[in-house]
Subunit: 451 residues, 2 copies
């Protein structure tokens, strides 16, 4: 029975052994854990500790551990290994994971490793594909059968070729040109009679994906059709690989994290304990871009200095109006960005979404504008101030609805991830609108305000 | 070959047929689609159209379609069916999905349906569990074998009992008390000899999860150990259900969406085309709570009206300082919230995270404070104004680092989802700090500023 362990406890145990210079003991302890857990512990060790441990774990076990690490973490550990050992590890890894790791290394190092590997053919088959595409996350070779095989021939074939296949879910059926023509579930094979042919028991309705498709599309398709694996085909519809659901779970989590971080204006590589220089590289550029837009908004305010000098209470309400616009714009934008990411809407729905959000925006603007107007009147007893606040709130929230839909839709249209820069543009729009309408209206009514 | 269709095209095709009053044609068209696609089309139809279509689709096919719908959407369609038909549909559905649908209905309707169903035992087994727990997403009965069976007996047993099992991945091995003692992969069964016993070929290292565990924990465990299914056990370690990865994908997407929406201060039920009243219910409460905190910040500003009247340019820079504090606090908070959600950190790491973020915050504060100070000097030529801006920026960003870590950590500690209310508290902190330090320092230095 394996009980999931607490990583913190395992890390402490490992570090205690290392501090006592019992490196063999630490290595033995890590080997006793599930590879996913030892991977997590090794990831958190210092480089010299990683080097000492890695030297004491066999390539076969190291391969299991590397498969559980993100490629950049695996590459850091791999640095401590000589070419020969690393080549042995790569030989033992799932080809798709080996390719991800190779993608982190220098070109000449990759060439050396490929030359050193016992069988680099599978890895070389996968190397050319872009890492964010179906080709980049697929595995090779996909388990396949021929249409003319009988069920008992198929069993023999599976025993001969797919003994090492970690998870055998579906067997894909090919014609003589390697074109994908059907799928057989392992369950169907077990239930079938020995002399039936594969063509008789296969399901010809097989959902496949193009090798060039974006990995997010793969995730959407698997989730939509509840598939455990999906075959990958080239433009001739020949089977070139297979993507299993466990690879896609990582994609779904990564894509969600990417969206969350981008919406918060943090680089998608951010990690809670990134080294300080990297943490600053991941965040400071966004802060500077926001500083630039904030200064543009500030210049609008300086334009109305005279009005503020006469009615300084405007300075208190001005950020309230802008902030409410920002909040409601952020709500709209987030719903649009997430719905686009999940494939729930496409660009065709832009006008429908715009109508919906304008309606919500006008109602929110009326509600909040009225509320704030009443509060301002009770506080300062100036009905003109209340009117200026209410009207500018309505206009700002209306504009926030426009920006909340049109900014992400425009970014999607020009091929930029809408999560990436929407926050900045929406906030800039609501700040400028909020300041300009509020102070503009106040300036028009300034003689009534100062009375 | 099935090519994924464009839902918009399918919806148009269906609506064209319905407008021509060809309901049989529309139903036939929908039956020709993959259930996931017909579900999506039906979801988007008007209630009267749904009723007409549902009446023309057989319970078996309707069950496939219902399994693809969210339970609330399925419940809307189910309203158009009489008790007898709906009971037939429920009989054909996967028990876990049937339970989700029943959870949307009135208690007495549920009792009627259970009485009407041909075999409600599986559904009744699952009904008591809370929908956000492992018990709430597991399926029943889990495919299981006994330790003493031979491989050929096991094959017979599988053919007899698990013919209808949509995806048979792992077979769980039980002792005489139904305690989980191992797992057999279908692949291992195929590769084994007919007279080996299950105990010989089973893997005793089986990772399981408690029936009370939170669904997010299930998702983390499956993702961490790359499992396609996980057995669910009670407190006696008896096997009570199984959760497959396709159910977990929905959980992962839903939990990510929930976090994204909560961070943006939108109710997690939000959908892009929610009816207007629901859209307002999902968002307005957050806007009102933010209005309240914004008014508290505004009251700080009114306290310094005298200073602003003397130096109205302060009104222009005041929101810049607060906004930069808000942005950097939002960055920190988002990274902390996401890392907690993914299980990358726990509460134990709070102090470490705080130290990290304070370091980043001080450096960001120095960088941005200096930059804005220089810009302000070039713009307004007042070195005292620049000093006030720089210092208040440093203090505000420092405070934003504190709030960005401590607010979500505190919410996690008291058992509230940190994604839920962090944004509001962090923004309130940075706004108040920004306004108070900036205007406070300006007031202290006001005689130097007006020169």
């Amino acid at each position: 029975m394996v009980d999931p362990i607490q990583i913190n406890d395992a890390l402490e145990q490992t570090e205690t052994l290392l501090r006592a210079h019992d490196i063999d003991g630490a290595a033995a302890y890590l080997r006793s854990l599930h590879p996913a857990d030892s991977a997590e512990v090794i990831r958190q060790l210092e480089p010299d500790e990683q080097a000492a441990i890695a030297a004491r774990i066999q390539p076969l076990e190291l391969a299991d551990i590397f498969e559980q690490l993100d490629e950049d973490d695996a590459a850091e550990v791999a640095e401590h290994l000589d070419t020969e050992t690393l080549a042995d590890v790569l030989d033992e890894m799932e080809p798709d994971m080996a390719v991800d790791l190779l993608g982190e290394l220098e070109d000449e190092e990759v060439d050396e490793l490929l030359a050193e590997m016992e069988d680099a053919s599978e890895v070389e088959h996968l190397l050319p594909y872009d890492e964010d595409t179906a080709g980049g996350i697929m595995n090779y070779p996909p388990p396949s059968l021929r249409r003319w095989m009988t069920v008992s021939q198929a069993f023999d074939y599976i025993r001969e070729h797919y003994v090492d296949e970690e998870e055998l879910l579906y067997l894909y059926v090919l014609d003589r040109h390697d074109v994908l023509i059907g799928v057989v579930r392992l369950r169907a094979l077990i239930l079938a009679k020995a002399d039936q042919t594969i063509e008789e028991i296969m399901d010809p309705d097989v959902i496949s994906i193009s090798v060039d498709a974006d990995q997010e599309e793969v995730a959407q398709l698997l989730a939509r059709y509840d598939l455990l694996a999906i075959p990958v085909v080239d433009d001739q519809h020949r089977l070139v690989g297979v993507i299993t659901v466990d690879d896609v779970i990582d994609v779904i989590e990564d894509e969600a994290t990417e969206d969350i971080y981008r919406l918060a204006q943090v680089s998608e590589d951010a990690e809670i304990f990134s080294p300080i220089p990297r943490a600053i590289r991941n965040r400071a550029p966004w802060l500077y871009m926001n500083l630039a837009t904030a200064l543009i908004s500030a210049s609008i305010v300086t334009f109305f200095q005279g009005t503020i000098a006469l009615v300084p209470v405007l300075a208190a309400f001005m950020p309230v109006v802008a902030a409410q616009g920002g909040n409601s714009g952020n709500q709209t934008m987030t719903i649009v960005v997430r719905s686009l990411a999940l494939g729930e809407i496409s660009l065709k729905d832009t006008w429908k979404a715009l109508g919906h959000e304008i309606t919500v925006g006008i109602l929110h603007g009326l509600m909040l504008g009225l509320t704030l107007g009443v509060v301002a009147y009770l506080w300062h007893g100036n009905i003109i101030l209340s009117a200026v606040i209410s009207l500018s709130m309505l206009i700002t929230i209306f504009m926030s609805a426009l920006a909340g839909v049109l900014v992400p839709a425009t970014l999607e249209k020009v091929g930029v991830d809408p999560a990436l820069a929407s926050s900045m543009f929406v906030t800039a729009t609501t700040d400028m609108t909020g300041f300009a309408t509020f102070l503009g209206l106040a300036t028009v009514a300034v003689h009534l305000l100062v009375q």
